[in-house]
Subunit: 516 residues, 2 copies
């Protein structure tokens, strides 16, 4: 259904690109109605335009809060062109059809980012704009709605091709974009209110995202996928790619996993290596390159083709160390020039500067199609006052610091996590098992394979209690001398007895860290 445009209503907060639209409207003899800043902009570009107030006969009031909220405007947009009764009513009121609506909104998001003034933020909630957009989008059979300046190009083509009109298909597609825009806008407003009032679990919850990049494919080549930014600042992801191929779905999945762990470690240079979304090496060291080397040594086989994240700047020496290995992605808080030159020798290596990356996830959601679970992020390692040594022999202060490191890593390892550490480096990680005993075996096997010399007197962290003593016996016989775990099993006594018998130290934290 081709439909010729006679009258257009324009109200844009962002005036960029307007002139090209005005030219095509003029060429096709389309009348323009507009108000406020848009009216002034159109006039200053020397195009003809009627002001909304002269059109409706009603002066805009309340500092522009009420301009377009008028029956003449909305009947013009909403009336059903195929309905004779509607036609009669329009003629009786002397109302004209409005066939094209071009609107973008008050920049609520930008104000949220740039201002802490609550009144100013609220003043930037657009009321008139979304109403016109929603009315036009509902009536796409008759009206064309444009809500995004990036659509001006296709709009101009469409109108030129259809001699001043548009096709139903185009109008319906633009209508879907329009409701996408109003839903997105109100989701941001709604989330801002909830953030302000600290409501994490409202009755009705929406998540918003703006497409950042279409990915080649998803986890597998037969799945399509895209990455969306979900932040008031929806232009920047905070990941600055300096080299290498496009990032894939699996790259992003690993990158975000690695950054989550990395940003949980403070004060010390730290390196995190991720493979298949699980950490396979994490290390802290005052000397950055040592943290890199030790993280790698934790499981050099798994690190092959992995994603590595560093919370320090990469220098020449570290760059050379990195290049000894095959990795897919290196993330760091900056790279010096010489380091970059060295790393860029590997053309496929994705090099990403994370200096501007910020975490902002107070709640996490897990989606299952028909439903989703939301929970607060697991932000604490443990409460120090809950820490309790349950064995006869007590850990040293140095061991307590190591316990904190090990237990923190444990938080990020999936399903029955056992993490062995020595000198603030993982030396064995057991993950993804339905049984804790299996994770104990995996972790010690890894340590024996790659860090045999370090296993004696190492520390083991377990994300949840040991249901039986078998798991800790496996750890003890491998050489573990300190175990940290939440405690709380009905067989705790059995477990503590085994620890005492082996003369090792055991700490209960009370804090469990399941992560699936």
């Amino acid at each position: 259904m081709f439909r010729k445009i006679k009258n257009a209503l324009i109200s844009v907060s962002d005036k960029e690109g307007l002139i090209d639209v005005l030219k095509v409207l003029k060429k096709n003899k389309i009348n323009i109605i507009s108000s406020g800043g848009t009216y002034k902009a159109i006039k200053s570009l020397r195009f003809k335009c009627e002001e909304v107030s002269s059109y409706t006969g009603f002066n805009e009031m309340l500092d522009g809060r009420v301009k377009t909220l008028h029956p003449k405007i909305h009947a013009g947009i909403l009336f059903d062109r195929s309905n004779k009764k509607h036609y009669k009513q329009m003629i009786k009121q002397d109302f004209k059809p409005i066939d094209l609506v071009i609107v973008n909104f008050y920049p609520f998001q930008k104000v949220v980012i740039n201002s802490k003034n609550k009144d100013k933020i609220i003043e930037n909630i657009d009321i008139g704009g979304p109403t016109m957009v929603r009315a036009a989008a509902k009536n796409f059979k008759n009206v064309l709605i444009i809500t995004d300046k990036s659509d001006y190009e296709s709009f101009i083509k469409e109108v030129n091709k259809n001699k001043g009109g548009s096709t139903l298909k185009y109008r319906e597609y633009m209508s879907s974009k329009a409701f996408g825009t109003t839903a997105y806008y109100d989701s941001i407003v709604s989330n801002w209110f909830n953030d302000t009032l600290k409501i994490d679990f409202p009755e009705k919850k929406t998540f918003f995202g703006k497409k950042f990049s279409q990915l080649r494919y998803g986890e597998n080549p037969h799945q399509k996928a895209s990455l969306y930014i979900s932040s008031y600042n929806d232009e920047e992801l905070g990941l600055n790619k300096l080299n290498g191929k496009e990032l894939s779905y699996n790259n992003y999945n690993d990158i975000f996993s690695s950054l989550d762990i990395l940003l949980s470690i403070k004060k010390m240079p730290a390196t995190v290596i991720i493979k298949h979304a699980n950490p396979c090496g994490v290390s802290c060291n005052k000397i950055a390159i040592k943290s890199f080397v030790n993280a790698f040594l934790s499981d050099p086989v798994s690190a092959f083709g992995g994603v590595i994240a560093c919370n320090y700047k990469i220098n020449e020496k570290i760059a050379k160390e990195i290049n000894k290995n095959f990795i897919e992605v290196i993330l760091a808080k900056g790279f010096n020039e010489k380091a970059l030159k060295i790393l860029k020798k590997k053309k496929n290596l994705r090099i990403i500067d994370i200096s501007k990356y910020k975490k902002n996830n107070r709640v996490l959601n897990k989606n299952f199609g028909n439903s989703f679970l939301i929970q607060n992020k697991d932000e604490i390692i443990y409460n120090k006052k809950d820490l309790r040594c349950v064995t006869k022999i007590k850990p040293t202060k140095a061991e307590l610091r190591e316990i904190e490191f090990a237990y923190n890593i444990c938080k990020y390892v999936k399903s029955n996590a056992i993490v062995l550490t020595k000198d603030f480096s993982t030396i064995g990680i057991g993950a993804g098992q339905p049984s804790r005993l299996d994770s104990c075996k995996l972790a010690t096997q890894k340590a024996f394979k790659f860090r045999k010399k370090s296993i004696r007197n190492c520390i083991a962290a377990s994300d949840a209690f040991f249901p039986f003593a078998d798991g800790i016996k496996t750890l003890i016989s491998a050489g573990v001398s300190v175990i940290v775990q939440p405690g709380g099993s009905i067989r705790d006594k059995e477990v503590i007895d085994a620890a005492n018998k082996a003369k090792i130290k055991m700490i209960f934290t009370k804090t469990r860290h399941f992560n699936h």
Copy 2:
């Protein structure tokens, strides 16, 4: 800031509970303005009310499409009571303040569920309602907005307590709910448009959810959590709990994982056991109880305390079998009376009827706080035309059927999945490893431990190619005689040679099934 209400605007599609609201308004001498069906309802309840058209002096038109979209209404809502200029303008126009807005919307969702008539669905997109709600919510400093009949009770208390007024705190909270409601409404409309036009990755994407239940806690006791329904029909989850304690976050996580696998299996009775979000036993058998027993035998240790999902009705005999074990949740397509009686003997056992559960997830999203990834669901097992036997010995037809079963389960196992099956039952699952060799070892160890007699001539499925021959050598020496994998490694020849040397069969599918 306490603010007395003089004039209220009411426009509700759902009239339930209205009478109690009207009583409190009358008691506090609050004038009511209303239109259309709400006006009639108020009059028939014998309360005083002015019609919007008489209030504005403008007759409603276009079958009610334009009623409240009038400056007198919106200036009344939006004007800033602390602004002298605004006051003067209001007085000049003879406009009165509207201090309370009670609105709920056209039932777009219900029409989507109950009708396939696109015009009817679109006609039920409310334009006037959301505009009033958004205007009032923006101006919460001066105006109270009520959008949900479940808030009538608190509203009545608030107005009674404040002698016909309300507090700023209450108004702000109701405003956050109002924007939650408009965001939710437009997200549903937007998703409906995208569904209709088959757009999976729009420029702006929103997800909507209505809180179904607040959970005791999240994955861990120090995390708060809630479950939301994300569906046009947001009243029902499709899980009918017949017995047992409240479901926890981890229960739901395991339940949805189990149902995902269960619903992928057609035609045959099937049982799926989940522990820590990974399957630890899956079995199909023409005789339902055999599928239950075999699923359990796959790893009876891990199945302890697990979640079990069955695509058949539970009878007495199966119920007795279930009760032999400790499990947390049993899901099934119905339970007969005797079976229920037996199962209910275990007071804590959660018994859930899934007869009404439907899958509806075309896209999945994974959330990282500042961003999210969306991808199409991994819906195919493989394309039959891509199947290629790469070894000298070819599989039988029976083996090909088993391959399909094994490869399907593989899709649901996380990170480097190896699944061993015999007679449509898993006998060993290796999961969650950064290296494929480790998964091969885990899967064969499990099989040796629990299904030693079945391991000879079993089938192995791998979610991705084998990078080296070491993994398949582990499988072969355990007794595997058929391997199904996507292929595509640069060392495929090495892998095929090893298979031929061992005289086993190997199938390439071309279709990878990463799942992290």
